[in-house]
C-alpha cells in the first residue's frame, strides 16, 4: 500500500520570517531598488511576489518600487504535450538596462525560469536578471539555473510534490511536502 505522507516544510510564521529575510536580502543587493524591477511569475508566484513587495514597501519609498507580473504560458517548451491557459502579463514599465528580480514560489526543474527568461527578452534587454524563490528543490534541475535568493532549499524525490498554500487562495498558509 502506498504511503501518502505529508510533511510541513514551512509554517505560516516561518513563511513570514522567510519573506522578510528575502526582502532584506534583495534590498541589500539593490539599495533603494535603484534601476531594479520586481517581476512575479503568473499564476502562483504572484502570491509570493505580493508578499515580498509589501515587505519592500516598508524598506524603500513605494514610489521607487516597479512591480510587474509575467506570464510564461506562450514560451513553454511542453506545448505539444499539455495545453496551458494564459494569464495576464502586466509590465507597466521599461525593463531596458534594468536589474530584474524574478520571483516564483518553487524552483524545480528550471523549465519555468528558462521560459521566463525567454518571455522577459520580448520586453527589452535587461542589464542583469536575478532569481528569488521561496523553495528550491535542489538536485532536481533539468537546466543550469540556480536561485540568487532562496527561502529554503530542500531535497526531494521526483515522485514527491511540494504544495504551497496561500491564505488568500487556499484558506491556510504553509508549505507541505507530499509523498505519493
Amino acid at each position: 500500500m502506498k504511503n501518502y505522507g505529508v510533511k510541513t516544510i514551512l509554517t505560516e510564521n516561518q513563511i513570514e520570517l522567510t519573506v522578510k529575510r528575502l526582502a532584506h536580502q534583495i534590498h541589500e543587493n539593490h539599495l533603494y531598488l535603484k534601476d531594479t524591477v520586481i517581476l512575479g511569475l503568473q499564476p502562483r508566484g504572484i502570491f509570493f511576489s505580493d508578499r515580498i513587495v509589501n515587505e519592500l514597501k516598508l524598506l524603500v519609498d513605494p514610489a521607487f518600487i516597479h512591480y510587474g507580473k509575467l506570464d510564461i504560458t506562450f514560451y513553454r517548451d511542453d506545448i505539444r504535450k499539455h495545453l496551458h491557459i494564459a494569464n495576464k502579463t502586466d509590465i507597466p514599465f521599461d525593463i531596458e538596462n534594468k536589474n530584474v528580480v524574478i520571483l516564483d514560489d518553487v524552483l524545480y526543474k528550471g523549465r519555468t525560469i528558462r521560459a521566463a527568461l525567454d518571455a522577459l527578452l520580448a520586453f527589452g534587454r535587461p542589464s542583469k536578471v536575478e532569481l528569488c524563490v521561496l523553495i528550491d528543490r535542489r538536485f532536481s534541475r533539468e537546466f543550469p539555473i540556480q536561485p540568487d535568493y532562496c527561502g529554503q532549499a530542500i531535497d526531494t524525490f521526483i515522485s514527491q510534490k511540494v504544495k504551497v498554500y496561500w491564505k488568500e487562495k487556499d484558506e491556510k498558509e504553509c508549505i507541505e511536502l507530499l509523498d505519493s
Binding site: D71, T73, F74, Y75, R76, I79, R80, K81, H82, L83, I85, A86, N87, K88, T89, D118, L121, A122, F123, G124
Partner: protein, 308 residues
C-alpha cells in the same frame, strides 16, 4: 482547459465555454501584439497550410500573420497557379500536402461543408476560414471580441445584422455565437435576402425597416451584398438597395442615439455603408481587423495542442 473540439469548423459545434476560452486567450495575445517583440515561440514545431480556394485579403493576411507571430511554419496554397486548375480533387491535393507533414490546415472554400468533408478524411486539425454560405467562425469570434472590448459583456447586448443575410457566412456564425453568449439579435434587410424560416430556425427577430433596426440596437454589423453568390436578381439595383438599406451619416444622426458600426469587409462603399460612416467615429471596423490577428492566434494556439 481544452476546447471540446479538435477542429474549428463552425461556431455551431462550439460550447459557450470554448468561446470564452478562445476570447480570453485572445486577450492575452492582443497584449503580446503590443510588446516590442510581437512574436512568441508557442507553435515553433507546428506547420500550417493555408488552403485558399476562394479570394481573400483580410482573412488570409490575418491568418498568416497570426501563424508567423506564433512562430509556426506556413505554406500558402491558392487555387490559381496550382494543380487544382489541372483537375486535381480537393482530397488529393490535401493528402499530397499532408504527406509532407503538415499539422494544421486553414481552409477557405466556395462550397459549404468543404472543411467538414476534409475533417472526416485527414488527421490534421482544420480551421474553417469561410465555407460558401455556411460559416466563418473566426470572423464571428473577432466580432465578439471587438464587441466585448467595447461593451464589456455580450449578455443582453442588442446587435442588428444588416444586409445580405441569406448569402452571408458571417451572419450565420455571428448568430450562432451571439445567441450562445446571450446577446439579442435582429436581422434586417430586403425580404429577398433574408431566409424565410430564420426566426423559427435560429430564434432571431426579423426587421425589414433598417431605421427601426438601428434605433433598437447598440451595435450594427453591416454586411456586404454577396453578388458573386447570387445567381438570380434579388433586388432591382445597387442604387435602389443603397437608398432603402444603405447606412449614411444622415441616417445615423436621425437616430438620436450613439450606435457602433461594424463591417467584416470588404466594404462596398456607397452601397451598404457610406464612407462618412465607415470612416466615422462610430465605426470600429479597423479595430475588428486588428483584433482578427489576436483571435486567430488564440484559435491556432488552442487547436495545436494535442496530447498524442
Amino acid at each position: 482547459m481544452k476546447l471540446s473540439t479538435k477542429n474549428l469548423l463552425g461556431i455551431k459545434d462550439l460550447q459557450k465555454e470554448d468561446i470564452e476560452t478562445i476570447l480570453s486567450t485572445a486577450t492575452q495575445f492582443k497584449d503580446v501584439l503590443q510588446r516590442p517583440v510581437k512574436k512568441v515561440p508557442s507553435l515553433r514545431d507546428v506547420t500550417i497550410l493555408n488552403l485558399f480556394y476562394e479570394n481573400s485579403t483580410r482573412t488570409r493576411i490575418s491568418f498568416e500573420l497570426a501563424e508567423k507571430r506564433l512562430s509556426a511554419d506556413t505554406i500558402n496554397f491558392t487555387v490559381s497557379g496550382s494543380s487544382a486548375a489541372k483537375g486535381e480533387t480537393l482530397l488529393d491535393t490535401v493528402n499530397n500536402i499532408l504527406s509532407m507533414k503538415v499539422d494544421m490546415v486553414v481552409m477557405r472554400h466556395s462550397a459549404s461543408g468543404a472543411p467538414h468533408f476534409l475533417a472526416k478524411h485527414i488527421p490534421a486539425a482544420i480551421v474553417n476560414a469561410g465555407d460558401g454560405i455556411n460559416e466563418h467562425p473566426t470572423q464571428a469570434l473577432l466580432d465578439a471580441f471587438s464587441m466585448l472590448e467595447k461593451f464589456g459583456s455580450l449578455k443582453g447586448l442588442k446587435v442588428a445584422i444588416i444586409g445580405d443575410i441569406m448569402h452571408s457566412r458571417v451572419a450565420l456564425s455571428d448568430i450562432y455565437l451571439l445567441t450562445k453568449m446571450g446577446a439579442e439579435i435582429v436581422v434586417a434587410g430586403p425580404p429577398t435576402l433574408i431566409p424565410k424560416y430564420i426566426t423559427e430556425a435560429l430564434g432571431v427577430r426579423v426587421e425589414y425597416n433598417v431605421k427601426k433596426a438601428l434605433q433598437w440596437c447598440d451595435v450594427a454589423n453591416v454586411l456586404r451584398i454577396q453578388l458573386e453568390r447570387q445567381n438570380q436578381p434579388l433586388f432591382s439595383s445597387l442604387r435602389e438597395y443603397s437608398l432603402a438599406y444603405g447606412i449614411n451619416r444622415r441616417l445615423l444622426e436621425s437616430l438620436g442615439k450613439e450606435i457602433t458600426i461594424m463591417h467584416p469587409g470588404p466594404i462596398n462603399r456607397g452601397v451598404e455603408l457610406d464612407s462618412d460612416v465607415a470612416d466615422g467615429p462610430s465605426s470600429i471596423i479597423l479595430h475588428q481587423v486588428e483584433n482578427g490577428v489576436a483571435v486567430r492566434m488564440a484559435v491556432l494556439y488552442l487547436l495545436a495542442n494535442r496530447e498524442n
